[in-house]
Amino acid sequence: MKLKTSKKIRRGAGHVCLHVFFTGLCFLTLIPVLYAVSVSLNAENSLLGSNFRFIPESFTIKNYLAVFTDYPVMLWFKNSMILAAATLALSLTVGVPAAYVFSRRRFAGRNAILKALILLYSFPSVLSMFAIYKLLGPMGLVDNRLGLILIYAGTMAVFALLNMKGYFDSIPQEIEEAASIDGAGSLQLVSRVVMPLARPSILVTAVMILIYVWNEYLFATTFMTGAENYTLAAGLYSLQATEISGSWPVFAAASLVISFPILLVFFAIQRYMTSGLTAGGVKG
């Protein structure tokens, strides 16, 4: 009895240390972001001098209002959403079966393809854009959302395939064998046994794709014309604090606004991030 309590206390103390550590770490990590928050909320609009504070003396939300009233932010938001959703759907529908097959089946060319896929990442893609333009142009996919979706899904396809394959590899094959003895068909096997087990990997992949699409601006500005077709990142890029347009506080406010949805998503999916394997999906 006594032993147990002392252990509990020790663990409690450990957790306090952990909290202190992580609070400090988060603060340290977020200094640049807090800086942006402060700049965007500061009514004095002063960047200079030794008087910077994380909590400004007088607050204003006029920079945030400016983001929403001066720019078609909601339209950009809609465009981002459409692109992100479509890219996610496409990437996962093509990625999951491919990853599963590469993990479970042994077939001619498998190893060669896997090796080649990784090597493809070493190509400096500065010039890719031009080639992709040459490819999509004749198909009428320039200035067309579908073109961007294909580009995004294609860019992330290697990562999606390899990443999910890695996780599939970690799921013991015996589970599937047992299920197939229980009479599950092969499609059932994948959708009802493997998928739940691979949930964290699929989510990680999905988040990765989402963030890529959300933050991508080079293709989005080059392949789309007209401010009404921009995504949030492309719009932000176009109003970036350049010499000519630059309002640093508005820019700071805008960058916080566009990253907010990603954080929400991230927070929301965390509870699903535990693998089926450890959350009681499989019990012997």
């Binding site: 529908t93 854009m129 959708s191 500005t221």
Partner: protein, 413 residues
């Protein structure tokens, strides 16, 4: 025994596949893009990268051509790179674009531009200030209808620098800087190590980043002298000379004077600064004022449109050549109109800033519009940084830069 969790994923999986098939169909559908009919109104698409106010003036002026010609203005970031990719693609390229003159050489060599003289009579062009026409010409052809031009201005904060204190020579400026640069204040700041800003100092010594014959001039004695002379000014400025630092210092009243573009004016006035604009100080040694680059903004016609929509393009250009367009665009952008007759307009003639720009432009050098300039920006900037920020020897740095420039220009072909 296994207890299997039946997820909802299978349904999602099926839905996903549905999405995919739909997309394939969409893809097939999109590739059969319909060609524009020859009948009815002609649509002219103009790409630009300007502020809304300027675009609005342009749009207003061109709406009068409706219903025969519908002009669509599209803001395009990264316009220059996009044009390289789509320049000759009739489906993706715009018909015209509205931009500074400095890319004319690149696009003319690429063969995507049509000379403006295919549409406008010479006497229309003769109405433009000669400097703007010079800027719009490449290898003997005029490729741009100039609308307005911009150049850097000497700006000062009246709270610190009184009108009578405004230096007329660079030595006076230097004395002012020595007296006033302390305690977080600067007498004068500029983007000392950017090629666009430093070029004005080189020009005052008859030095050039790129000479008229397309040869880099970084190794010339004139450039060496200019760099050497400029250095003592840089020592009294913040080391970091990029726009964020310089503009913020001036906007927040920590710098008494600066050299900046017209785009700075609105933000500075908004910050409550009593802004004065003066002509550039003169370098006593040469008797020439600091002579910055000027940028001439105007419309260019793409070759793909020139053939297909010749008459519509002609009408658009004629509408834009009207004085009233120049005047109101100049006012919207705070720049100086390109047409001489615009200055008869009292509102233009009374505008301090426009007139200061006009004065400065008398000495300004149009940015070179040769393709070679594309590599010169980087090389010149590296030289400026070596001299101003890393404290390297002027002569050897300039010689290195010249050699590098020659090598890069050779690699362009």
């Amino acid at each position: 025994m296994f207890r299997i969790h039946f997820g909802r994923l299978s349904k999602r999986f099926a839905a996903g596949f549905l999405c995919l098939t739909m997309m394939v169909f969409l893809l097939a559908g999109c590739s059969r893009q319909e060609q524009e009919a020859d009948e009815g109104p002609v649509t002219i698409t103009i790409w630009h990268d300007k502020e809304e106010e300027v675009a609005a003036v342009l749009q207003d002026a061109l709406n009068q051509l409706a219903p025969d010609i519908i002009v669509k203005l599209e803001r395009k970031d990264g316009l220059t790179d996009s044009l390289k990719m789509v320049g000759n693609d009739p489906n993706a390229a715009p018909d015209m674009y509205f931009f500074a003159h400095d890319k004319i050489g690149v696009y003319a060599e690429m063969g995507i531009l049509a000379p403006i003289t295919e549409f406008l009579e010479q006497d229309v062009l003769d109405g433009c200030i000669p400097m703007t026409l010079e800027a719009a010409s490449y290898k003997g052809e005029v490729y741009q209808l100039p609308l307005y031009f911009e150049t850097l201005l000497f700006m000062y904060n009246r709270r610190y620098m009184k009108d009578e204190e405004v230096p007329s020579t660079t030595e006076e400026l230097y004395t002012y800087m020595q007296e006033n640069t302390r305690g977080g204040h600067y007498g004068f700041v500029e983007q000392h190590s950017t090629a666009y800003y430093a070029a004005g100092w080189l020009h005052a010594f008859d030095g050039y980043i790129l000479k008229e014959d397309g040869e880099p001039g970084l190794g010339d004695e004139a450039v060496l002298r200019a760099l050497e002379y400029h250095k003592k000014f840089v020592e009294l400025m913040p080391v970091e000379g990029e726009y964020a630092t310089v503009n913020t210092l001036f906007r927040e009243g920590k710098a008494h004077s600066t050299i900046g573009g017209p785009w700075l004016v609105a933000a500075v006035r908004e910050a409550g600064i009593d802004l004065g604009i003066a002509s550039m100080p003169v370098v006593e040694e040469t008797g020439k004022p600091i002579s910055p680059y000027s940028g001439v903004q105007g419309v260019h016609v793409l070759r793909v449109a020139a053939e297909k929509k010749h008459d519509a393009v002609k009408k658009v250009l004629e509408a834009l050549a009207d004085d009233s367009v120049g005047t109101s665009m100049a006012r919207a952008s705070g720049c100086a109109p390109a047409r001489i007759s615009c200055y008869d307009d009292p509102q233009v003639a009374e505008d301090d800033m426009v007139m200061a720009m006009y004065e400065t432009a008398q000495n300004a050098e149009p940015m070179p519009n040769m393709p070679e300039m594309d590599v010169m920006w980087t090389v010149a900037e590296k030289l400026l940084v070596d001299v101003n920020m890393s404290g390297k020897d002027v002569r050897s740095s300039a010689e290195d830069a010249q050699e590098q420039a020659l090598k890069l220009i050779q690699q362009m072909r």
